[in-house]
Symmetry: D3
Subunit: 326 residues, 6 copies
């Protein structure tokens, strides 16, 4: 595997169209989770990817694993729990002035029971090049947090590049606890993904270059969006690295489903670094993949490398023409 990610994935239930959850008579079923989303988005670009997690040994756990495999991700290292439950979340699409909403139902999930000394990191990291996790994982439980500590240290020791998406979830912990747990983690991190708002909330530092210096990370990256609508926005990305700030083009995006867009950005960034080296190129892959993610339903990127390359070639000036193939 080139890329290994660690985190929880859940069954996502979404009313069709713009119905509120309360009025729904059917729900669309997809699967998502920040680190699995990264692994799938990268796998679709050709990166050999593996996802580490725990799932319940029931139909919902098997559904999650099946969708991960469909997305091209190796799940052979997932731990199967005979007794825990699968995390769930319910999503409502928004329409201005009503924003979208997410209702989590993830307490006591199998992934929240992740525990140190149960995962064969040496075997997992043998031959791997990049490790990614996010701030959701340590927020799941104390044992999950300890697992993250163990994983980051092992990844670093094995010579992998480590990326970490700060991804603060206020329903899971307080900013204070998030800081206490995550500050010590930063010394293992090479690439920190964090918006200015989140970084300020958790670490009290909103500036990317200051974050870099404070924590000694090689790069700090984030997407940037502006919108007064639910159905369209602009989307771009930046990375501060090597003393410079690299910005991707800004896309006008018609939004079908923005969940997972940040994860697609991370995947594009990782792909770019694994294949093309320069941060300038990497952030362009990240932003393009993030923009394309917004145009499809579900958490997971559906973009092939050809899709991304076509968008990068076209530049940002609007929608691609109708593409015709045999």
């Amino acid at each position: 595997m080139e890329l290994v990610t660690l985190g929880e994935a859940m069954v996502r239930l979404t009313p069709p169209g713009f119905a509120r959850l309360e009025q729904a008579r059917s729900l669309d079923v997809t699967v998502g989770g920040a680190e699995l989303n990264v692994a799938v988005a990268a796998a679709r670009l050709g990166v050999a990817s593996s996802w580490i997690s725990a799932l319940p040994d029931n139909a919902l756990g098997r559904m999650i694993a099946g969708r991960a495999r469909e997305g091209g991700v190796d799940v052979s290292r997932v731990a199967w729990s005979p007794s825990d439950r699968a995390g769930l979340y319910f999503v409502e699409r928004g329409a201005a002035p009503r924003g979208g909403s997410v209702l989590y139902d993830r307490a006591s999930s199998a992934a929240s029971r992740l525990a140190p000394k149960t995962i064969a990191w040496d075997a997992i990291f043998a031959g791997a090049r990049w490790f990614h996790t996010s701030g959701i994982t340590p927020a799941l439980s104390d044992s999950a947090a300890a697992t993250v500590v163990e994983a980051l240290a092992a990844a670093k020791a094995a010579g992998l590049t480590v990326s970490y998406d700060l991804n603060f979830r206020g329903k899971l912990w307080s900013p204070e606890k998030a800081r206490a747990v995550q500050e010590p983690l930063m010394r293992h991190v090479d690439v920190l993904i964090a918006s200015a708002e989140t970084a300020r909330l958790v670490f009290g530092i909103g500036d990317a270059q200051q974050l870099q210096q404070t924590f000694g990370v090689a790069a700090v990256a984030t997407t940037m969006r502006e919108s007064s609508r639910a159905w369209q926005s602009t989307l771009s990305g930046m990375v501060a690295a090597g003393g410079a700030v690299h910005r991707a083009p800004t896309y006008d995006v018609e939004i079908v489903d923005e969940i997972g867009s940040g994860d697609a950005f991370v995947a594009g960034l990782i792909f770019g670094r694994l294949r093309h080296d320069s941060w300038e190129t990497a952030v362009r892959y990240g932003a393009a993949l993030a923009a394309l993610k917004c145009t499809v339903p579900g958490d997971m990127s559906q973009a092939t490398l050809a899709d991304v390359d076509a968008l990068l070639a076209q530049g940002k000036e609007g929608v691609a023409p109708m593409r015709v193939s045999r």
Copy 2:
């Protein structure tokens, strides 16, 4: 009950997406009717609401009553007809430059047989605070018009505040007949809801303050919308009362379904007056509820008081951020 409304509700049949009715192979089934919509929207905000009407004693009648109950509205006073039919209407969503369309099939409905001296107004209004009906009800039939006369007089006599939505339906009667029937009703009305266009068409008066003076009503209110699109518009509301004109903020709205938006405005206005007194506050609840209604499918408001309060707190500057809950 705090709020009592009187009017017809129908089964609404809507092609999925943007299909024309003629090409539809399935139809979504919801229930709507101006005065029931008001009752449901108010009930979801916590107002104890009752809806007075007549329904056929068949599966369609029971469907209408069930959806009203689901919306939190008391239907124990509905009259059940062994022989009449349920009104139906077919709705097509528009896309510029094609406007939406409504095909009514409501002739000979149970509600059109509403007749005076059959409804126990005294019992219904005991303890109630507000009565609402609209110009659709007297347009259904002469006996329905006589029922409205009776109801307005009884409500007034029982000390209720009376609101009346002018709601002109050109398929049901002419402006001339609408004026002849409705002018005498105005002396029972405290709050008249009417757009400038409708008021001018029916009464020859488009100005809210002039309407107030002419008919001696305490307040005249309306929503205001501007749009050259089917999928987005601005939406606001105003009320002329106590010598002043109070305007709500103007929302940018992405339109999922605008039917029932005016009814939600009325419900918000009633809620505001019942709970908060000032017209300034009441019209803000009205406009916010009307804007939120546009963002969900079906005639009926799905907004909770928490939803409306969140929108009012946020102001009008754009869509609310993704809301996350446990």
Copy 3:
């Protein structure tokens, strides 16, 4: 209210057709729970019914309450929890030789937090005639069990008839604990609903008349089914009471969804006793309602009194002819 029931209701998620849960891409959303099912089935026959429970104050809780109201049940006494979750269950329809399956995800639900001294039984039972709960409720948690003890005593003290469906759920507790908790409850019970198998498993007694004598209950009732298929079975019911055993006719049933069939039987039995007195008539309503429940999707009976009376009038000889109405 004539009928009061106490118990949990959950959101039910069902793949369309015969898909396995693991392969589903959408799920139908309904609501069910043994005691709510009883209340709805009785309400559709005209019994004023109220359901006592606890729900989370979120979209799923509101959905459950809305569907209960749609079914004609009063939910004004439901407690709303700001922090707990809604119970969920996932159902797969079977096809021989594969049986159906149910995956529960109900731990930590709001209803499992039901606690004594929080419910105004005196007010709830004022004017009521019948109280019903089942063996699922005390199995939810110790505090729920204590609530059941309190409720049964209060119902008895208020002069209500009390029915109790043994409804053993092996995922919630052991037969031993079920016996220890429920044996003391039996002295409050007038009508025990229990299959021979369940009664033998929990109390070590499979014979209805012996159960009656042992616990001093006025009647013991149950449905009886025989089937080697998933899509059809026979269905009947019996009640042992007053020294006699009364049997309903045996229906040939084409099974659309058998969940809730036992609850419909209980509702028919209650309806029969409340309206018609004799056990012989009551068990016929029970079996007819149970058979009709099997023919519709979802947990909840959709049968009107006219539907049941028509079936009873026709006897058991096959399917009713196509019914035509205006």
Copy 4:
């Protein structure tokens, strides 16, 4: 045109699966009507068919005409009404012991305004060979009944064979009126389609050969079904003609939708007579087409001539093997 039929067609609304109408959130939309069903079923076998009726000039009327054309039927002679409505009917599929049900909402339809002296029968019948209508058409209204009288006389005068399906609809008229109106029509009829029950109810004669003699019709035909289930039955057909009674094989049928099965029988009978002469062959086409109709959703036969010939070739012994084509 070889075949001309006269009658009403309606928009049919059917809940998916086995849902009751009251619980439906979407309805499947098809089109049906006895005489249109006959025309479509015959057209699919290659008979040039035309349908005479009246439709409202709105989306529902255009939908009905479009589906008739899709079924291969000429609708160029349909009258378009600027003001009347389209008839509707709502269908619930049954499951034993619950029978299916039909809720008609057809009063005041455009077809009920059919009137004599408005239809160019001479032009319509020029070159035609067969005319068909049913007892539903004269039951729609007095003017429709007068139209049927006019049509039958004109058809007879033009030398066409005339078939008439007794098709009694108790919601539209009484047996007494049905007899008074229809007895005089019989002198124009060559082929009467009537079950023993219906013929006995309307004419007081249940025996086919006695009917033949009494009314001097060349043939009396009917389908025969036996079933104690909603999902399966046996189906056969017979015709009494030329002093003999010819019976078709009896099919075991798995029922998807039995509406329109009798109309398919009529179409097969007409096809057989138009192409193959003998009543023995004709009734076999009728029964095979009727059986095949039961296996598809909607009122209209979907069977091609190849389908019917394959079934006739195979005999009645069970289901045809999986058919594979390029």
Copy 5:
């Protein structure tokens, strides 16, 4: 027939909503093809239209013919092939910055076997006024190209007006071959429909008036669109004829499905010329019909003449108001 068109129609498979094909679990089924689309759009305006093509004698071929008939088009001249396949195409709706896409699977279709000397042009053109085909048809195969040559010559000889949509398909042939085949065809053409880009690509001439002079065609017409989004654009049309250039108003369009919009333009143009003579009027019908087409799903125009006339009457200033009918 007034209008005769020649070309291929295919079964179109479209994922619901904005799903990518790869993630689809169901596909919507419609039918489309440039020349059939023209015939349907014209037929809905009242033009008697016939479509000439070849279809496989299987369920897909019958589906295509049925949908054409539903659209009001005569298919009695279609040739039925016992062995070839139906062409298919898969369409993905776009969302900026992802453009829509079309995946064709049309090789070896029945229509690609169209061959000269097999079609009775004399009979087909008897009484007809207009013939239309497009550059897709000769690109299907050499025999199809020869059929087009034959058809154009026959149409011209029979005195019909001939229109030809250049419609270049790069998957079917090269610009060089397109030029070689089509240049000789131009001498039969009266009205050439071609965008500046396509005309430049194929003929090396982008200017409409220069095209007119070069090929001696009476008129050159095209739609014009501008958009940086997938969900909205402007749409207009122009025709160069009689020494002048006539432009239609520019519509703001909310795009539901833009496929077939150009064909609707052609149909409006033909309708206008057949009914109203002036190019100025004709191009207005074309652009209005093209704009309306964009607002409905599927290739085929759903607009009635009343719809188009209402839009033309209203002018271009935005979306039509909600239309209410009986």
Copy 6:
């Protein structure tokens, strides 16, 4: 990998419910192909499985690969073609007396271009234990037949057990060609799966034990079904091996979708031999898996090992009781 299979997989398009293809407005999309079905069914039981084939490098090819991965099958050895198409097939579910039907559209597929000397059999078979293909693969094309020859020889040489399902497809070749091509293959085969009818048609030998002797294969196996209905049948299986004939129990099956049932039988047989040695046990796994396959939609088995073991433990007497899990 333990198991390697070789063959084509296609996109399968199925109308919902019992609609005929011609009347469908949407199609369910699944993926199937005999040898892929075997690989998926075995993988779900825990057998490490790999599928060898060729797919087009477009969305349909990626869909097929994604579904194979979701089913747990390794597709890393699939060849990707830049120019060929994906095979398709359309399936109609039957209802007595109408049988189901399959319309293939697979000519010129990528898999039909499979060619010898392009596949790294040595690497593929390294460490593998079992190879399976079927008579469909050599029927695709001459080059595919040559590939099968090559594969069988290589598998044998590498010491794998080889199974071969005769699976005659009359649309692809004649019985004569099937015999000429396949007789020479038999010397590589250890386990021949063939019904008596197919074996008689192709080889002129219907008896299993005679087939064994003639071709020197270790075992001959088949499923056996009896049914006069489309919705239910009996299903069993047998294997002739080691001088004995072993029969599995006979299941009563309610049929949701019987396609792929024979492939599941093969997978169960392989699983049984790989894990449990005796033919008696293996054929029981085969028949149980085949019966369970019939109860789910789509070609692919959804059964886990726990599902099969539960069915085997229960015996054949009817449907399993509702299974409840946490």
